[in-house]
Symmetry: C2
Subunit: 178 residues, 2 copies
């Protein structure tokens, strides 16, 4: 296991990616659509705009806009326009969208079956790769609300000056800062 060459490791990562992507198609969704649904399922109410999804997935706003329209046609998300700032749109999962995310268990079953030590090693490696990727493209971290410097007990967000629900501290936030 020692002396892993970066190119071998990269090939290994790519292959796992491709094979697990091939599994996602077994819903009526493609990988981009599933990734979008999964993000929406984990993001808080301040972070569900097309531009947030684009930023999170590393895609352009145009692409994400089309993906969200496709998901809307399939009934997995609904669009809500902001009344205060009419440029803003927010998307939410419908029940059918939430079901699709919950039903996508294939890779999760494999991960759940791994020994805890292996899972931890995998996670810490992926986290390191992710931080390097984020640093290079200087993208946002999308961390959990509760680990943010603007998070105050209450629960309350000092940046957005908003009271939070009980679940929100455990959701992903676009404005997250360490």
């Amino acid at each position: 296991m020692a002396n892993t060459s970066p190119s071998d490791l990269r090939a290994l990562f790519d292959r796992v990616t491709r094979l697990s992507a091939a599994d996602v198609w077994n819903a009526q969704l493609n990988p981009a659509q599933m990734a979008t649904l999964e993000y929406l399922a984990r993001a808080n109410r301040f972070s569900r705009a097309p531009s947030h999804v684009a930023d999170y997935l590393g895609a352009t706003r145009g692409t994400v806009s089309q993906t969200l329209k496709a998901l809307e046609r399939k009934g997995h998300v609904t669009e809500t326009r902001s009344s205060t700032d009419k440029r803003r749109t927010t998307y939410s999962l419908t029940q059918s969208g939430a079901d699709a995310v919950a039903g996508d268990q294939d890779i999760q079953q494999i991960l759940a079956a791994l020994p805890a030590a292996t899972r931890d090693g995998l996670e810490s490696g992926l986290r390191d790769v992710l931080s390097a990727l984020l640093a290079r493209r200087d993208s946002r971290s999308f961390g959990l609300c509760r680990s943010c410097k603007h998070h105050a007990t209450g629960p309350y967000c000092q940046l957005l000056d908003a009271a939070l629900t009980a679940e929100e501290p455990n959701q992903i936030c676009h404005e997250h800062a360490a």
Copy 2:
């Protein structure tokens, strides 16, 4: 780092995948084309047919056929038809194709910068996930020639009854068996 939930880990994996895919587009290639080139760069001469690529990437033959045609139009691969079995076609990288693979250094640089222990943890985790995925879809392993049961010193392949070049034991083989 402990108590990693499978769904968090899955989300982490997806995000790294998407962000690194976004980087690949910076060549004139999309992720599927780059993955195909990378496979061809690592596969031995018995393993470069469209169906082998399809099997490796978990895609259909039709899709791979089109991808190879696109790569051929761009001058990154060349087609060679077998004279003994006229159904068979083999693809090889051109210099331009090899350059494209070599130029795709972004993720490799990140991986190379990781501490060896982190890299090993990442690799062993990915390997476990890969074997589980392969077992479920009962796909081939595509291991290195030299680790195959048909590999004999010489170097020589007992299954295909063929003498091997010096590099071939270190390439990927479609017929690899443990």
